[in-house]
Symmetry: C2
Subunit: 125 residues, 2 copies
Amino acid sequence: MTRKAAPFAYEGLDRVIHERARLSVLTSLVSHPKGLSFVDLKELCALTDGNLSRHLKVLEEARLVEIVKGREGNRPQTLCRLTNSGRKRFLEYLTTLEQVVRDAATAVETRNAAEHRGKLASAQS
Amino acid sequence: MTRKAAPFAYEGLDRVIHERARLSVLTSLVSHPKGLSFVDLKELCALTDGNLSRHLKVLEEARLVEIVKGREGNRPQTLCRLTNSGRKRFLEYLTTLEQVVRDAATAVETRNAAEHRGKLASAQS
């Protein structure tokens, strides 16, 4: 389906990424390229242990996220981070998300401008 | 939860609005303030009859969308359009969506700038 035929279909909004909690996790991870611990991720996204575990599992199975062994000072630490393909897919998703914001903003501005013209016209009549 | 405590929680991403098909429908409707027929909406969003009906029902129950009687030339026509409160809630949702796009874009730019500095440093050494 082309954008012309169905301009509001937004097929690039990958459902694995679009779900709210997973969108939170992925935005946290793209902002922390070295990775985040489970505890940090939980706090940044305001998720419960159970919810974060469940969504991380979906993201791991989709190969968007990987769990790696890192170090915090002398202490070994388990970190969640984006895979390379996860980063690529997230950026593709963002392109469509930006389109949604742009389409909606254009609609709002067009309407505001029309209302403004309407007010000017009635003030002049 | 404040944005400072959980900066990636994005609590403003109302689940009724955020679901992909409903986001399509709402963006179509905000772009067509006079309303859209079921057939036009279906085509603009590339949805099946069943899917569109199901999602419109959710949006109507949440009082985001209303079904009104309009006219297409001489012919009576049923139109879907945003309610006033639906428009308001959709605009609030958009504020958070813009924040997601901005956070992700900042992360991507920061990383690109760091990579660029890295390449310059290795070219100079």
